[in-house]
């Protein structure tokens, strides 16, 4: 007997994707029921906090938000992690990586200059 193809609406698929993302822990729980599910997973595997989270800075001692240091990446380039670590721990950055950082910085500065120029022209 031939199995029938199941027809799904876009909404069915989107809801199922959203549910799957939540259940797999691929999105952060923002309601009580999802937190309960995440807590169950947590009891099976307790994560170890990275060192800097083991001794947290009290918010009143840090005026600047940490968020300014985050650099999201499209894919995990082999340089991303060492660069981020070196920046945070104050360690040395290998020369090859330093070149990339300089090039990125120049690119960002150029982009900022262009954007400011466009703004001036618009205004």
């Amino acid at each position: 007997m031939k199995k029938k193809k199941q027809r799904l609406t876009d909404a069915d698929i989107c809801d199922a994707i959203s549910q799957a993302i939540r259940q797999s822990g691929w999105s952060i729980p923002t309601d009580e029921a999802s937190v309960a599910a995440a807590e169950e997973r947590l009891t099976e595997h307790m994560p170890e906090l990275p060192n800097r989270l083991k001794q947290p800075k009290h918010p009143s001692t840090s005026a600047d938000p940490f968020i300014g240091t985050i650099t999201p990446l499209w894919d995990s380039s082999p340089f991303a992690e060492p660069m981020a670590r070196a920046a945070r721990d104050g360690g040395s950055v290998p020369p090859g990586i330093e070149d990339i950082m300089k090039r990125d910085r120049k690119g960002a500065e150029r982009e900022l200059r262009d954007r400011l120029k466009d703004k001036r022209n618009d205004g």
């Binding site: 031939k2 199995k3 029938k4 193809k5 199941q6 027809r7 799904l8 069915d12 698929i13 989107c14 809801d15 199922a16 994707i17 959203s18 549910q19 799957a20 939540r22 259940q23 797999s24 822990g25 691929w26 999105s27 952060i28 729980p29 923002t30 309601d31 009580e32 029921a33 999802s34 937190v35 995440a38 807590e39 947590l42 595997h45 307790m46 994560p47 906090l49 990275p50 989270l53 947290p56 009290h58 918010p59 009143s60 600047d64 938000p65 940490f66 968020i67 300014g68 985050i70 650099t71 999201p72 990446l73 499209w74 894919d75 995990s76 991303a80 992690e81 981020a84 670590r85 945070r88």
Partner: protein
């Protein structure tokens, strides 16, 4: 949370309360943030940034937290963690939109207070959800990232689920691609998932049923 919100009147008590609050929830928050965001936040270092900043914002905005008259300790804990989750999610969404260098506090009171008990999604067909999980495994890493990231904006039940152009443009920039390419990757991924879900099921024992 109550003691933490007294930071203006009694800073020492608020500090101690924050330390206890952190001790109770840090591992949980790190775990859920790591699972959800390590693929876009350069692993544990980026996740640690989000966790730190979330606790920082929770401390500064503790006055806006409402327990909604709940007395059950398990529910209070879950509600608090859901609240932390919302802060972290909002930080990541801001970051994905390229607003990470603006230390703004754009949460309004409603957002801080309305922590739902359920997600708002229909209970869902468990088999279908499992199939989606399998379908997601068939996607390329890029496709999976785009689906995961764009579904952060998904609101169940809303009739128009198209991502606003501004969000797509910001997101494409953060993900180092073009808006058109981002849409194409998403479209391709959705087609793959649909095909996977609509293919006739093969019995688990290999018997094709003929």
């Amino acid at each position: 949370m109550g003691y933490m919100s007294m930071r203006d009147e009694d800073p020492a008590t608020a500090r101690d309360a924050w330390a206890e609050f952190y001790r109770r929830h840090a591992e949980y928050l790190y775990d859920v943030c790591y699972r959800a965001y390590s693929h876009i936040l350069i692993g544990d270092a980026g996740v640690a940034d989000i966790v730190s900043e979330t606790f920082c914002r929770a401390y500064r905005n503790a006055k806006l937290y409402h327990a909604a008259g709940i007395h059950d300790s398990d529910r209070i804990r879950r509600r608090t963690r859901a609240w932390l989750g919302r802060i972290a999610q909002r930080l990541v969404l801001d970051m994905l939109r390229g607003a990470q260098r603006m230390p703004t506090y754009r949460f309004n009171a409603d957002e801080w207070e309305s922590i739902p008990k359920e997600s708002g999604l229909p209970p869902g067909d468990k088999k279908l959800i499992r199939q989606v999980e399998d379908a997601m495994k068939q996607l390329t890493a890029k496709e999976r990232t785009v689906i995961r990231v764009t579904f952060e904006w998904y609101r169940p039940g809303s009739p128009h689920q198209r991502l606003p152009n501004g969000v797509v443009a910001d997101l494409a920039k953060t993900l180092e691609t073009t808006p058109e390419n981002l849409r194409q990757i998403r479209r391709r991924a959705m087609v793959k998932i649909r095909r996977f879900l609509e293919q006739p099921a093969v019995p688990a024992d290999g018997n094709k049923g003929d």
